[in-house]
């Protein structure tokens, strides 16, 4: 029983950064700006949060700095992609590459391969919810996560409300679905694109903080390892709907948790299990696509 509880706890644990990226990405996706830069923004959040905490020995400042940095990157992305009408995929990849390079540059200047916080450790960030932690199985799964984990689950609901029950959400979707009619309604389409992208960078900052600062209090370069891309796959699968995208992000968390837990028993071949999440996501993407186009009779693309 402990084994299964462990896997489920790990599923939540591994799903959170993806889930946050997904929540951030869906607004941009709905506004028809594909945000490939999720990966880079998450890495920036991870890097800045740990770097600032390391320098100031103040975790709160790390949180704030990460959010501010990611918003700034989001602003750059939006400026080039929306205002200058550049190719957003190319811009996104440029952001991803720049962040890795800048982080590497700074690490090289500091003469170390990673940044490790000495004054705190990962256990400090875990919150044990008073009553729930005593419930036999559920307690083992739900309790003992970091603050951002709980924020994330609240955010799913908030994002759903924002997307379907507010003017903002409706306008963002109109801008994405039909820019001309949005313009004819007198909407400032660029404004909604900017806001959608900035919302995404905010969530990516949280994802980065969760990944590096809260979970491990350590930053190594490229530690995001494609999670941003997996989030994009999840967004594609769920077609931008917060609830179904959440579902796919959790599938990834489960795949990752299985790969981590099973690799303990695999011995030398343990490294191969790292492949599971990527392969699972590719298969899920395919299956969803097949179902979507099953009844389509159109030939070609």
């Amino acid at each position: 029983m402990g084994f299964i509880t462990g896997i489920l706890y790990d599923s939540v644990y591994h799903a959170i950064p993806i889930l946050l990226c997904v929540l951030g990405g869906i607004f941009a996706y709905k506004a028809n700006v594909l945000n490939i830069a999720l990966e880079g923004m998450m890495l920036a959040g991870a890097f800045v949060s740990v770097l600032v905490s390391f320098k100031t020995e103040n975790v709160m400042l790390g949180y704030i700095a990460a959010v501010v940095t990611c918003l700034a990157i989001g602003l750059i992305f939006a400026f080039f992609g929306v205002s200058c009408k550049g190719n957003v995929i190319v811009i996104g990849l440029a952001v991803n590459m720049s962040i890795v390079a800048i982080a590497g540059f700074v690490l090289q200047l500091m003469n170390s391969a990673n940044i490790k916080l000495g004054f705190t450790n990962a256990a400090d960030f875990k919150i044990h919810i008073p009553i729930i932690k005593n419930i036999p199985i559920l307690g083992g799964i739900i309790s003992g996560h970091t603050i951002i984990t709980y924020i994330t689950f609240v955010s799913i609901v908030l994002v759903w409300i924002l997307m379907y029950r507010t003017k903002f959400g409706i306008y963002v979707r109109v801008v994405g679905e039909n820019e001309d009619s949005a313009k004819s309604l007198g909407l400032n389409t660029n404004k909604y694109r900017y806001l959608a992208i900035l919302l995404g960078s905010f969530f990516c900052a949280l994802a980065g903080i969760n990944l590096a600062l809260e979970r491990m209090t350590i930053f190594t370069n490229s530690m995001t390892a494609g999670r941003g891309f997996i989030a994009i796959a999840a967004i594609y699968c769920g077609r931008g709907d917060p609830l179904s995208c959440t579902f796919y992000a959790l599938i990834f968390g489960l795949a990752r948790a299985l790969s981590v837990n099973l690799s303990l028993y695999a011995g030398a071949a343990a490294a191969v299990f790292d492949v599971i999440p990527y392969v699972v996501m590719s298969i899920v993407l395919t299956v969803v696509s097949v179902i979507k186009y099953r009844n389509s009779r159109v030939r070609g693309m």
């Binding site: 750059i76 080039f80 992609g81 200058c84 009408k85 550049g86 190719n87 957003v88 995929i89 190319v90 811009i91 990849l93 440029a94 952001v95 590459m97 720049s98 962040i99 890795v100 390079a101 800048i102 590497g104 540059f105 090289q108 200047l109 390892a225 494609g226 891309f229 997996i230 994009i232 796959a233 594609y236 030398a268 071949a269 490294a271 191969v272 790292d274 492949v275 990527y278 392969v279 996501m281 590719s282 993407l285 395919t286 696509s289 097949v290 979507k292 186009y293 030939r299 070609g300 693309m301």
Partner: protein, 360 residues
Amino acid sequence: MTKKKSDYIGPKVLNTLLPVGLAFLIGGIIILCIGENPLEAYRIMLGKSLFTAKGFLNTLHYASPLLLTGLAIAITFKANLFNMGVEGQLLVGGFFAGIAGASLDLTSPVMQKVVCMLVGIGCGVLFALIPALLRAFFHVDEMVVTLMLNYAMIKVLEYLSSGPFREAGSGYVCTPVIHESAMFQRLGIGNSRLTMFFFLAFAILLIMTFIFKKTKLGMEITAIGKNPDFAEATGMRVRRKIIILMCISGALAGLAGAGHMMSEKFKYTLGFSGTTGLGWDGMLIALLGRHNPIGVLLAAIFYSALKTGADNINMYTSVPKEIVGVLQGLIILFLAVQFLDERFGLRERFARRMSRKEEA
């Protein structure tokens, strides 16, 4: 509408040079911030690798795989496909070319080299075939799949090189060194590292140029890039073309990996494709070269000079060589945006402005 492409070359060149200039400017500010002289740093970086005979030949040597990866990405961009898996295809091609080079021992060195390269190409094609088939038959976005499969492939190769294929005697993770017969020998021109591989890559560049400019396949691919629905409606087999194109791209990437293995590395290590990755560099080269063969050639040489220069910069100054990665990212960022409208030439633009002034 009888204007020729070459008429308006001014804005095109400017649109390519401006991003590079801007990136260097920002890079210079960063270098200034860490207390070094940016002009001095750039002089060290580019001076030796572009303006000395030996340095330039070495630059050409390191440009060879970049030429191929740049081409691999440029041709898919042309059809509006995003093969972001060039990095993974290059790695798998290089890895298995290395394994073949170490385990096979054919009597003829030429055969040995050909077989190794074919193994590299084959692996690249097979790996590119997965996203190609998914895209063509199931409408799966090829960009997302290739991006994810890159990570999967890196993990698999990490396992293979540290497990089954590991060189037993070495202190770090690497595969056995390939046989001498599989290595491209240095030609010894000007004491440089230049090998036959550069000329091979150059020949392939010419062949691909011919295919894309003069054959039916090339025309169709351009048509698909401009409007896939129209291409489909006129009876082109879009699905088949996508698969062919992804396979060509994978083959080029695989060959780039095999050549890099056989002319430079001679064994697979975890840092086989360098800090930014040869596949990712290809992306910069394709964009900088504006998907055009001569452009790709120039861009590959320029970027290779930057990269080889980065090693010098590390030696003579305290600027970390990651500065090249920063420059690369910035150049791509600025390249994504058109600064000038390319529909009009500089002279026409100037003339129009003048006439407008006169009117006023």
